[in-house]
């Protein structure tokens, strides 16, 4: 029989034939990006592929390096807020809050923030978190060809943008939070509008989950793709939904609770396998948890004439406009504040909050003047993106799309 085999195949075994006769195929080097739809316009990957399998990918970020740090060093503490808006531009409120908390820590007024201000901060942060996840999940679905779920989510996001605009005056770049509180109080009846929209968002979520969750095509695209082991995830410093999908039980809101999170009840979802499908599920679950937090906040939001939206500390807050118009002391205080900025005592502090993508930290070095001496931001996107090089190894080119989508690489945050 063996002879027959040799006769037919010219080889002892089929395996031998495969190995010996395979032509060495050439590797191809392709530029993916910077201007590639899956690269969000800001990343270039120099891919080395064998057929469509990725042998090596050199990720080159930096196409959106807008010099956040350098700009901050030349801006007063208040002027940095617009810059923080544009870090993670999908959830700007959280950046605002994180930065404000870092400055407050340096000023030593963390405990003195009015409770209403804390609640408002948490409310807008959670709304921002929902917009972040809606955008991330929607955009990933779109990049996988599901245009309709994307537009449903955009519709829902639009409702939240309108609400955020009513609060802050801008749809996206709010610059709403201030050191010591928030710049304006919530408008009347805003919470009711928000609660009504939350119900509608839940309805949209049901529809989109029907379209995606169990869809075999979608699942096959996500499940088993971009798997990251827990050890690797820890070593690469993954946090947020991406880290939790890998099974890292870490959420800043839970482990280092800040603001009023100790008073709230919510669940932290954890994935099992660390693939893209888990990341998707974690994000979807986090939207639901944020909705839950918002409903609790609506019940607990302190109201009443005595509740302030910003701290009444002459070092930090602008005097009320009425006083600035009328009294000379307030006028001088106002001018000092505008021209010199908030005087932050020398020192350094690292403050971190749970951003839309993970641990968003601000490391500020103050030198006693009105401008930060250094304002480093620990951006989760940058950290997560650094892991992609390893993740995408041996995947297909098509897998870059879900991997990138679910990492939720935000150019502004990644490249600072």
């Amino acid at each position: 029989m063996a002879d027959l085999k040799t006769l037919v195949l010219g080889r002892k075994d089929v395996q031998d034939m495969d190995e010996e006769q395979e032509l060495p195929s050439e590797l191809m080097t392709i530029n993916m990006g910077p201007s590639h739809p899956a690269m969000h316009g800001t990343v270039r990957i120099v891919l080395t592929v064998d057929g469509e399998r990725i042998v090596k990918g050199d990720i080159q970020p930096g196409y959106l390096h807008r010099c956040f740090e350098k700009e901050s060093e030349h801006a007063t503490y208040t002027q940095v807020f617009p810059y923080t808006d544009r870090l993670n531009y999908v959830s700007p409120m959280i950046n605002n809050v994180g930065y404000a908390m870092a400055v407050e820590k340096l000023l030593g007024i963390t405990k003195d923030i009015p409770r209403r201000a804390e609640y408002v901060r948490v409310i807008v942060s959670e709304v921002s978190r929902i917009t972040d996840h809606l955008t991330c999940v929607g955009a990933s679905a779109m990049e996988l060809g599901g245009f309709t779920p994307f537009l449903y989510f955009l519709k829902a996001r639009e409702w939240l943008y309108v609400l955020l605009e009513e609060v802050s005056g801008a749809r996206l770049t709010h610059s709403y939070v201030r050191v010591g509180g928030v710049s304006k109080d919530l408008p009347d009846g805003w919470m009711d509008k928000l609660l009504a929209r939350l119900d509608e968002i839940e309805a949209v979520m049901v529809e989109v989950e029907t379209m995606l969750n169990n869809n075999k095509i979608f699942r096959d695209r996500m499940a088993g793709v971009g798997v990251f082991s827990k050890e690797d995830a820890i070593s690469f410093g993954l946090t947020g939904p991406v880290g939790r999908a890998c099974g890292i039980d870490y959420d800043v809101r839970k482990d280092f609770p800040y603001s009023i999170y100790p008073e709230l009840e919510f669940d932290v979802p954890l994935g099992t396998t660390g693939d893209c499908y888990d990341r998707y599920l974690v994000r979807v679950e986090e939207i639901k948890q944020s909705i839950r937090i918002l409903r609790q906040c609506a019940r607990q939001l302190p109201t009443g004439p005595g509740e302030r939206h910003i701290i009444d500390d002459p070092r930090v807050a602008l005097p009320p406009k009425r006083d600035a118009y009328n009294t000379i002391e307030s006028m001088i205080r106002h001018f000092k504040h505008i021209v010199d900025g908030i005087k932050v005592p020398a020192g350094e502090a690292y403050t971190f909050v749970e951003g839309g993508n993970g641990e968003l930290g601000f490391f500020i070095v103050a030198d006693g003047t009105g401008r930060p001496f250094k304002c480093y931001v620990r951006s989760p996107s940058f950290v997560h993106l650094s892991s992609v090089e390893k993740t995408m190894h041996n995947h297909l080119i098509a897998d870059i799309v879900p991997i990138f989508g679910m990492i939720n690489m935000i150019g502004g945050e990644c490249d600072k």
Partner: protein
């Protein structure tokens, strides 16, 4: 309204999520396992049919219902307009004094605070007693302005506002986007922020 939702009954269901641990910092925060549907639950035909059902529902309702019953949210922009909220930061304007003159006293707060340096003021002396200066030139480059609203916050005399409720128009040349003092004043109105008067804190009203 707020308490009316049964979402907090989330854990009362028998098939609630699997709780992995409870936080030691806050006992009301739990760590749960996301519910991953079994591969058997996702099939080509059934899931596709369900998905088609959703889009079909939208299609039928949007195509065959009256406009107000549909899911359609589109506003036909140039004809229909979305009413901007009160706090919307739009085009700048310069407020007037009672005599119609510009309120601005050229204190240079707004150009100082503007992170984009889009405001240019050339102050000039005025013979008005009490107010020493007025802006001979007041220009805002809308193509630089990042609409952060800091200038409005910084103005100590309610001279500059962004509450016009109109957005800046797109332009064909860079210089067309520069709002001169005359244009800014045209949009302005008499300020309610009377010095020493009640209406000063117009931002205070919710």
């Amino acid at each position: 309204m707020a308490g009316g939702h049964a979402h907090d009954a989330h854990d009362d269901h028998g098939d609630g999520p699997e709780v992995l641990s409870v936080s030691d910092k806050n006992p009301r925060v739990r760590t749960i396992q996301v519910k991953r549907p079994t591969p058997a639950e996702s099939s080509y035909l059934a899931a596709t049919a369900k998905g088609l059902g959703v889009t079909l529902k939208h299609f039928v309702k949007n195509t065959f219902s009256r406009r107000k019953n549909t899911y359609i949210e589109t506003i036909e922009y140039p004809e229909q307009k979305f009413e901007y909220p009160e706090r919307f930061r739009g085009l700048h304007r310069l407020m007037h004094r009672d005599d119609g003159a510009v309120r601005c006293v050229a204190c240079m707060c707004c150009p100082t605070v503007c992170p984009a340096h889009c405001i240019t003021i050339v102050p000039a002396q005025t013979d008005d007693n009490g107010i020493e200066k007025y802006p001979a030139t007041f220009e805002i480059d809308e193509l630089r302005c990042v609409v952060c609203g800091l200038c409005v916050e910084a103005c100590p005399c309610d001279a500059i506002r962004m509450d016009t409720g109109i957005h800046a128009k797109p332009v064909e040349e860079r210089h067309e986007a520069i709002m001169t003092k005359d244009l800014l004043l045209e949009l302005g109105a008499r300020s309610t922020a009377v010095q020493g008067g009640e209406g000063a804190d117009w931002r205070g009203k919710k």
